[in-house]
Symmetry: C2
Subunit: 421 residues, 2 copies
């Protein structure tokens, strides 16, 4: 079992030692560990499913909603998908050692800026066993060690999966402690993890706002928050209205529980009378609960649209509910988005290049779309192979957190005796 | 006067509005503001020097040490140097709008990753009026607004300088509030500044550990700490010992009060008997107080070397004092550096490529030098034009914080109606 009785500090110290070795591991060795992980996942699928069944059968798990049980549950196909995901990461280019800059300084020093691993990455995550494997694969390939703090609901599943990765690391001649799963524990262990300065180089909390608030209060290590999103679709006066209908519905309905789904639709006043009735009908038909501002509601006809409150514009529903407003211009749309958005993903539908440029320049967000759904903000969609989450921070990583976001750089300068005068 | 009676929050809100305009300002307009700043600094040198004389004559300033008074004092030559520094920044390439990546996604989306300003950068700094101009120039050129919180010792000098930059901005058709100097104030105002979430995109505290600790306790905005450094010089068994003498002395003595000066000298056991007496003599002659470990002290002959305590290996003296130890190998040197260093600047002196590679790969620091002094970690030396400070963080910026470190990026995706399936 990967779960041991060592303390959080001991686990992090062991991870730090492993990180030093992994930082200089060859691409071949890291890929061998990933290949072995994929193979062992397939070979020991039965063992994994058994552990998962025990997690699901635990009386503790009776608390879970149907949706949460579904996220916790593994099937042969899901284990197969994990193995396939690991092979995708193995096929990605190794980011470590990349020469980002190279120049000769006035002093004659030869200066190179080289990409290097961060060191120890800690991830705190919800009851989704596949996250164990996704995150471990990304950190191994990027030369980092990982400390995983999963949910108690998934303890047995995570234990089985972490054991497999640790065996795979050892098989490839790499330190097993590069993947360390913390034993359960509550808020105290979380606080301990968030204060391992000098040992934890980056902490990524996934999951709810409660977890994030708890970490924000105590953390002294660098934290990158995998963000929720209050995303908007703005339908401009010169939009293709058929396209706008498809995009608005897709952004809201296709997967409402994720961070890049839309929460507010902004309709330009110039086309509101024509467009509002059709898009509201589409949305209502798709089962979306609608609230609107005072300019929108009279355009709704027989469609039921509640009165939006001030809170609705800031809400991240993460469910089949949408706020709709009428705005007078691109500037007004930008102002609304910057006032209420969370800086995640924002879309404009327009045939006007001028409006598109104004919107993409004016909106302060990680990703801005022209004539496409907000739902595309995703490491896989962006060709980054996989992601640990999405960042709405502006420092270091913005948007999908992939392998390169798990690296830093180091300046290496070579001279022949240079001293400063 | 730039100093007004508005609250910190009002000042930050005004800076945010200015930042939106500066983000899309042309390179020409930003350079015009910088040229006007340089011109006004020259034209109004007398006014600046008068304000500075008043700061120095204030009874408050009687508290200052000679060194601190010198940092506060302006002269015609120093004002001229500020103007020259602004022109250097004007000549640097505009980082905003740089296309960092561009590719077509599987979905057909055209994805560009574009460099954009952070927004509002706040800098808290010591009583050095030139920092007002250096920081304002870097933020203007990188399309950011800046909120400056200087020292009360420099209040009149900073006021005169900020007034000039604001006039220059207005002359170039840019918003004066892009450079905002906060009125004095103490820890309460600092705490208010550090908690302007949504308004301040980055806070950079310069200066002492007390300031950093105070900010660490309260900050909710992103912070980048301009770091102090516990830097090492390691003299390897195969070093050119004449070069090693020069580098060790330069790294300690040339400017001991700055973060990239050396605090510990590590001497390989293989050459310690030959090298220690000569380098210790050089250092003693340069006025350096020496402390050493038990293996080093017997090699010191008649040179006075005190017994190093456990604290000495972690000390950032920032004065003419040096700790010296004998180590057995490159591995031992790396282990010492990683255990006691602050991740700033580390040097090895060696003729061995193998040792150099091992040291540069193994040491976890922003900058690693082979056969050069640690003193080169600096924005000017690195060809970055100027710097706001040095970062020992691993996220976002590591090493000199120049213009590019004051930017983030945004993904802009253009489609023709893409939705996710």
């Amino acid at each position: 079992m990967a779960v041991t009785t060592t303390t959080v500090a001991e686990s992090c110290a062991a991870a730090k030692r492993a990180a030093r070795l992994l930082a200089s591991a060859s691409t071949e060795a890291k890929n061998a560990a990933l290949e072995a992980t994929a193979r062992l996942l397939e070979e020991r699928s039965a063992e994994i499913l058994e552990a998962n069944a025990a997690d699901l059968a635990d009386e503790h798990a009776a608390d879970l909603t149907v949706a949460l049980r579904d996220r916790l549950a593994l099937t042969p196909a899901r284990v197969e998908a994990m193995a396939a995901g690991v092979r995708v990461v193995a096929a990605l280019e190794d980011p470590v050692g990349e020469e980002l800059e190279h120049r000769t300084l006035a002093s004659g020093l030869d200066l190179r800026k080289l990409r290097v691993p961060l060191g120890v990455v800690a991830v705190v995550y919800e009851a989704r066993p596949n996250v164990t494997i996704d995150c471990a694969a990304l950190t191994i390939k990027s030369g980092n060690a990982i400390v995983l703090k999963g949910s108690s609901y998934a303890e047995r599943s995570n234990g089985a999966l972490a054991t497999i990765v640790r065996e795979a690391l050892a098989e490839a001649g790499l330190p097993a402690d590069a993947v360390t799963l913390l034993a359960g524990g509550g808020r105290d262990e979380l606080a301990e993890l968030a204060t391992q300065e000098g040992l934890v180089d980056l902490l990524i909390p996934r999951g709810g706002e409660g977890l994030k608030a708890a970490i924000k209060e105590v953390a002294t290590v660098p934290v990158m928050y995998a963000a929720a999103g209050n995303c908007h679709v703005y339908v401009h006066a010169e939009a293709d209205l058929e396209m706008a209908r498809r995009i608005a519905v897709n952004a809201k309905v296709q997967r409402p529980g994720v961070c890049n789904s839309a929460e507010t639709l902004l309709i330009d006043a110039a086309i509101a009378e024509r467009f509002a009735p059709v898009v509201l009908a589409d949305l209502a038909e798709a089962g979306v609960e609608l609230v609107g501002d005072e300019r929108l509601r009279p355009l709704a006809g027989t469609i039921d649209v509640g009165a939006a409150t001030a809170e609705d514009w800031d809400a991240e529903y993460l469910e089949l509910k949408l706020a709709v407003a009428v705005v007078d211009s691109v500037e007004a749309a930008i102002e609304h988005v910057n006032a209420h958005g969370t800086g995640h993903s924002e879309a404009i539908v327009t045939d006007s290049e001028v409006a598109a440029d104004e919107f993409t320049a004016g909106v302060d967000a990680a990703a801005v779309y022209v004539n496409a759904s907000t739902r595309f903000t995703d490491g896989f969609e962006y060709g980054m192979g996989a992601e640990i989450g999405n960042s709405t921070q502006k420092l270091h990583a913005r948007g999908p957190i992939g392998m390169r976001e798990l690296t830093t750089f180091k300046y290496v300068a070579r001279g022949d005796g240079q001293v400063r005068g």
